[in-house]
C-alpha cells in the first residue's frame, strides 16, 4: 500500500472569483502572469492579465473587446515578444501585443462561425520552422495561418462539397521535430479524429471514437509524434501510441473511463511527457501517468508492424467545484504550477507536488 504522502498532491494556491464567464486561461511564458479570456454579460469580450504575488492574484490589466473571446495561445510567438493569438465568437483571429492591446498586431476573419479551438507552434523555442497557428471552428473547417501572410490561410482542411459539416471542437499541432514536418490533429463533434500531415498535405489517419471529441493533445509538439490523448463526452479518454502506424489498423490505443461527465481538457506536463491532467465536467481534475509496455510494437499475422499500447495509472484526483473546468494550462517555467478556470466564474492557481518521483 503506497503511503498517501508519496503521491503527488494537488494544492489550491489561489482562487479568484471573476465577474464574467471565463473560457480560457493561459500562462504568459517566462513570467508569473496569466491571462484570462472570456466575455462579460453584456456580450463583449474581455481579457485580463493577473500576476501571482504573495499568494494573491493581482489584476494588472483589463482590456475589453467587441466580441467575446473563446480561446488563446502563445504558441506561435517568440519568447521576447510573447504575442497572444485569440479566436473569438465571430470567427476572427487576432494576435495581440499585451503591452499595447488596443490594436491587434495581426487580424483576419478566419471563419464564418465561432472559433472553437486554437493552437500555435514554432514559437517559444518549441519546434523548428515557421511559426504557425491552427484554428478549428464550428463551420467544420480547420485552417492553418502564418502571421506573415495576410488574410489567407496557409492550409485549409474542409469537408468536400455536399458532405455534412461537423463542428470541429478541438485542434492540436504535433510532429514538428524539424523544419519540414508538421501534423495537425482535429477532433469533431461526431467523434471523428483526423490527423492531417502538413508536409504531404494529406490525411494521414482518421478514426471515430463514438463520442464527440472535446480535446486532443500530443504529448509534445516538437518531437516525432509519440502519444496522442483524445478526450470525449461521457467520461472517456483514449491514448493513442502514434509511433507505429499499421496500414489498416492505424494506431494502437487504450481507453479509460474516468470522470463521470464530459472530460473537457487534457494537458500534458511540459517537463514530462508521460504525465497529464484531465479536467472534467463535474469540476474535478485527474492526474495520470502513462507507462510504456515492454515492447512498443509487434508483428501481426500479416507481418506488418502494429503498435502496442501501454497502461495509464491514476496518480491523484481532486474536486475543485461543481461546475465544469473548461481550461487548464501548465506553467512552462515551474513544474507543477498550473492555472485552471471553470464555468463557476472562478480562476484557480494550483500547485501539484512530487511530480519528480511519480
Amino acid at each position: 500500500m503506497s503511503s498517501p504522502l508519496s503521491k503527488p498532491q494537488i494544492i489550491a494556491h489561489i482562487q479568484k472569483s471573476l465577474n464574467y464567464t471565463v473560457f480560457d486561461s493561459k500562462w504568459i511564458p517566462c513570467s508569473a502572469k496569466f491571462v484570462c479570456l472570456g466575455n462579460f454579460a453584456r456580450g463583449t469580450g474581455v481579457f485580463q492579465i493577473y500576476e501571482v504575488q504573495h499568494g494573491e492574484a493581482q489584476l494588472i490589466k483589463e482590456v475589453e473587446k467587441a466580441k467575446p473571446i473563446k480561446c488563446g495561445t502563445f504558441g506561435a510567438s517568440s519568447l521576447q515578444q510573447r504575442h497572444m493569438a485569440t479566436g473569438d465568437f465571430d470567427g476572427n483571429l487576432h494576435i495581440w501585443n499585451l503591452e499595447a492591446p488596443d490594436v491587434p498586431v495581426y487580424t483576419t476573419k478566419a471563419h464564418k462561425e465561432i472559433v472553437n479551438s486554437i493552437d500555435g507552434v514554432g514559437g517559444l523555442g518549441i519546434g523548428d520552422g515557421a511559426p504557425e497557428i491552427v484554428t478549428g471552428s464550428r463551420d467544420g473547417t480547420v485552417k492553418v495561418w502564418d502571421p506573415r501572410q495576410k488574410d489567407l490561410p496557409v492550409a485549409n482542411m474542409e469537408p468536400v462539397e455536399g458532405e455534412t459539416k461537423r463542428d470541429c471542437w478541438t485542434v492540436a499541432f504535433g510532429h514538428a521535430f524539424n523544419d519540414q514536418d508538421r501534423c495537425v490533429c482535429a477532433g469533431y463533434d461526431n467523434g471523428d479524429i483526423k490527423l492531417f500531415d502538413l508536409r504531404n498535405m494529406s490525411l494521414r489517419w482518421e478514426t471515430n471514437i463514438k463520442n464527440g471529441v472535446c480535446c486532443v493533445e500530443f504529448d509534445r509538439k516538437d518531437i516525432n509524434m509519440n502519444k496522442l490523448v483524445a478526450t470525449s463526452l461521457e467520461g472517456k479518454f483514449h491514448v493513442f501510441d502514434t509511433r507505429t502506424q499499421h496500414p489498416t489498423k492505424g494506431f494502437a490505443s487504450i481507453s479509460e473511463k474516468a470522470h463521470k461527465a464530459t472530460i473537457w481538457q487534457v494537458r500534458h506536463l511540459p517537463q514530462n511527457r508521460d504525465i497529464f491532467m484531465t479536467a472534467g465536467g463535474a469540476g474535478n481534475l485527474h492526474l495520470w501517468k502513462y507507462e510504456y509496455p515492454a515492447q512498443r510494437s509487434k508483428k501481426d499475422s500479416d507481418g506488418a508492424d502494429v503498435g502496442v499500447a501501454g497502461s495509464v495509472n491514476l496518480l491523484q484526483n481532486a474536486t475543485l467545484s461543481t461546475q465544469p473546468i473548461a481550461s487548464l494550462d501548465w506553467s512552462p517555467d515551474k513544474q507543477g504550477l498550473c492555472v485552471c478556470s471553470g464555468f463557476d466564474q472562478t480562476v484557480r492557481v494550483l500547485i501539484v507536488t512530487k511530480l519528480n518521483v511519480a
Binding site: 489550491a12 508569473a32 516525432n224 509519440n226 515492447q295 510494437s297 517555467d333 518521483v357
Partner: protein
C-alpha cells in the same frame, strides 16, 4: 468458494444474494469483479448501511487489485491548511517571481538547480535494476532525420540555456521510453546549443545502452575535463572500461568513486564483478606486469591522450598475444 462458482454458473449475474454480503464470504472471495459488484451494492445502501463492512470489502479488494476502478475516491482539493508551516513556506517561495522590468526575462538560476535534480533521479533509475532488454521497434524512424546541430548563434545566453535544457529534457524522456538513438540525437542538439556537464553525462549513458563504447568514452572524457571529480562520469567510464576489457583502469576509477562515497552501490557491484573476472583469468596477471613497462616508454613518445589510449590498447593486445604464445610454447615443451 464452490458456492460462489455454483451461483455464477446458475446465472445469478445481476443479483448478489444477501448471504454474500458477509465478512467471511468477502474474505474468501477471490473474484475481483464479483467483489466490485458486492461493493457497489453495499455502497448503494439497498440492503442497509454497513460502513464497517464497506471498509472491510475495500481493504480486501485493494489487496487483490490495487488499481481497481471501484476504489477511486473523489478527493477534495488540498489547500495550504493541510500542510505544515515549513512546507507552505517552501511552496510559496518557490513560485516564479516577477521582475519589475517586464521586457527583461527572469534570471534562470533556478533552471540549473532543477537540472541537477533531474539527472540525479535519472541516475537512480538507471543504476537500479530496471534493465529493459526488449528493443523498441519503430515504424516512424524519424529520429534519423532529427538535425543534430541547432543554430543558436542569434540567441542570448539565457535563451540558449533554456533551449539546451529543453532539448536535454526531450532526451531524458526518449531515454525513459528506451529510444536510445533518439535520446542521443536530442542530447547532441542540447550540446550544440550549450555544452553542459549533465548533457554529456546523459549522452554517455545512452551510448552505453547502445554499446557504442568509443562514443561513450569520448563523452565521459569530456565531462572529466570539465569536472575532474564527477562521480557519474567516473562510474560510466568504469563501465566502458569493463566492457572494453580494461579491468585495471575500471577498478581504479571505481576506487576513486568509493573513496568519496564509500557506500555507492553501483560502484561496489561493478567492482566485485571486475574482481571476479580478474581472478578468473590468471594469465592476464603476468601480462599486466609487462603492460605497465611498455606504457611508461610510450608516454614519452606520444603527445595526445587519445593516441596514447589507442597505443595502449594495441600494445596490451600484442602483449597478451605474446604471453599466450609463450604459454603455449611452454606447454608444448612440457
Amino acid at each position: 468458494f464452490t458456492a460462489n462458482d455454483k451461483i455464477s454458473a446458475a446465472g445469478f449475474s445481476t443479483k448478489v444474494p444477501v448471504e454474500h454480503l458477509d465478512y467471511d464470504f468477502i474474505e474468501k472471495c477471490k473474484d475481483v469483479k464479483y467483489l466490485e459488484k458486492i461493493l457497489r451494492i453495499l455502497r448503494s445502501g439497498e440492503e442497509g448501511i454497513y460502513p464497517h463492512l464497506i471498509k472491510f470489502c475495500e481493504r480486501h479488494l485493494e489487496k487483490l487489485n490495487p488499481n481497481s476502478r471501484a476504489l477511486r475516491k473523489e478527493n477534495p482539493v488540498a489547500t495550504e491548511a493541510n500542510f505544515s508551516k515549513d512546507d507552505v513556506f517552501l511552496l510559496q517561495t518557490s513560485l516564479p517571481k516577477q521582475t519589475r522590468n517586464p521586457s527583461k526575462r527572469v534570471v534562470p538560476r533556478d533552471y540549473q538547480e532543477w537540472d541537477k535534480f533531474n539527472v540525479e533521479e535519472e541516475c537512480g533509475k538507471v543504476d537500479g535494476s530496471m534493465q529493459r532488454n526488449d528493443p523498441p521497434a519503430q515504424l516512424n524512424s524519424g529520429h534519423l532525420s532529427i538535425r543534430r546541430e541547432v543554430d543558436a548563434s542569434l540567441l542570448s545566453h539565457q535563451e540558449k540555456l533554456l533551449l539546451a535544457n529543453r532539448e536535454k529534457d526531450k532526451g531524458n524522456e526518449a531515454f525513459r521510453a528506451n529510444d536510445y538513438e533518439e535520446a542521443v540525437a536530442y542530447y547532441s542538439r542540447s550540446l550544440s546549443i550549450f555544452p553542459t556537464v549533465n548533457a554529456y553525462n546523459n549522452r554517455a549513458q545512452a551510448e552505453i545502452r547502445l554499446e557504442h563504447w568509443h562514443n561513450a568514452m569520448t563523452d565521459c572524457l569530456q565531462v572529466l575535463e570539465l569536472e575532474p571529480r564527477n562521480k557519474k562520469a567516473l562510474l560510466r567510464r568504469a563501465t566502458v572500461y569493463y566492457h572494453m576489457g580494461k579491468f585495471q583502469m575500471a577498478s581504479e576509477d571505481l576506487r576513486t568513486v568509493l573513496q568519496e562515497e564509500p557506500n555507492n552501490p553501483a560502484a561496489m557491484q561493478l567492482l566485485s564483478k571486475i574482481e571476479k573476472k580478474m581472478s578468473d583469468c590468471p594469465p592476464e596477471q603476468q601480462s599486466k606486469g609487462k603492460k605497465i613497462l611498455i606504457e611508461e616508454m610510450e608516454e614519452d613518445l606520444c603527445c595526445s591522450k587519445e593516441e596514447q589510449e589507442e597505443q595502449r590498447g594495441e600494445t596490451q593486445l600484442s602483449v597478451y598475444l605474446i604471453s599466450r604464445l609463450t604459454h603455449r610454447l611452454r606447454r608444448e615443451r612440457k
